[in-house]
Symmetry: C2
Subunit: 215 residues, 2 copies
DNA sequence: TAGATTGTTAATCGATTAACAATC
DNA sequence: TAGATTGTTAATCGATTAACAATC
């Protein structure tokens, strides 16, 4: 809320704190110290305190952090206390996998539409939502409030659709296409480049093999 | 190849260089300077030169980098010049989506098995590979060389299966389960925590809204 | 040769860790 | 109160950027 700029590294860690705190809640743990949490998460206690203090003092000296309170507060910081209407562009395997992932709904990410270019898919329901032709997208966006678009289309199609999304006032794009998108700075783009993740894995694999073979 | 330790940040950037070089090749571009590439990729030229020089001098003063050569070399660094036999654990939507992604095969990631716990799926073919019961996994791993396991199972099941994979000598796990895995340091784990990615997007969304509302 | 551009060292910037005073 | 643990400042570490000599 304050003007202080939070680093990308900190933001990337917040959801992980949130996940661990959720698990602690399930285990009925009421409070935890940065030290204990640091051991669970394999990070330093110092980093935890430093990270959390970017957003305010959630702990109490001599006591630690109240798990439920901290969980709720991080949830708010992450914007999980509001509804985010969401559409999927590309009803292939990946699009359907994401549509069927129920936990998103639980966190406020509400799927309101699914679109594809393939006429064969038109009218087929996924999670109770009928797949529509992508040509209907601009119209749909005018009639419905849409905040996030999930892009699970081939890369050439993806760039083209990103343009249309932006023209129609999309707020954020979760991009699974194997390409970078051009977007103005007021449109949030979060990339999930799966093949790049697999290549990083492959690098580490080769690296490890070399280190333990050569010599 | 040398003992020099490459930072994780550099490794994460390599696949992106690889992607851009691939695109340049498609466009028949023969050579490129760090400066031109930096403009395309929205990074500094200095970073590109610094990154590449971790692995050796691929460029030439006054000329720049030969696109095809650099592409090939980065491919080798990423281990894309060797075959990586791969299995999928969890034949749900996501598992099938990954099974059907043809580009992996092209890069040397060869799918050799798909497993699930659901007996209904037994024998069904995905990309010409029959889904097997997960109970057959240890046997399969003894009979076949398997390097990478893709984990697309619910989190409780995932931890359990990771243990079995490790006992049977898996080299790397590409983990899509919403949990961290315990693995010895000689087993590479690459996590894809999709919900965390979506939460980071959500954070940025809320953040942007605040900055442009309050004042 | 002159011009271009790398490879590489040095300077800067940012992020992580350590330390400790404040305080519950 | 004494003990525990945070919040926060200072020190360290690492990564990015700038600068430029080397060299094609």
């Amino acid at each position: 809320m304050e003007a202080k700029e939070i680093s990308k590294a900190v933001v990337k860690r917040l959801p992980r704190y949130y996940r661990y705190l959720g698990e602690l809640m399930e285990e009925k743990v009421e409070r935890i110290s940065s030290n204990d949490l640091s051991k669970k998460m394999h990070v330093t206690a110092s980093q935890i305190r430093q990270d959390l203090n970017n957003f305010g003092g959630f702990g109490q000296q001599g006591y630690g952090y109240n798990v439920e309170y901290l969980y709720t507060e991080i949830g708010k910081i992450l914007g999980l206390d509001t509804i985010h209407p969401m559409i999927i562009l590309g009803a292939g395997n990946l699009g359907q996998a994401l549509a069927n992932y129920g936990d998103f709904e639980k966190r406020g990410f509400r799927l309101v539409g699914i679109f594809d270019v393939n006429p064969v898919l038109e009218g087929i329901s996924v999670r109770g939502i009928e797949i529509q032709m992508i040509s209907r997208l601009p119209e749909f966006m005018k009639e419905n409030q849409v905040e996030i678009a999930i892009l699970t289309l081939p890369k050439n199609k993806a760039k083209e659709m990103a343009k249309i999304l932006i023209e129609n006032g999309i707020k954020a794009i979760w991009n699974f296409a194997h390409t970078d998108l051009d977007a103005p700075e007021d449109v949030i783009v979060e990339n999930v480049h799966l093949s790049e993740s697999l290549m990083a894995l492959s690098y580490n694999l080769s690296q490890y093999r070399n280190e333990h073979t050569e010599k």
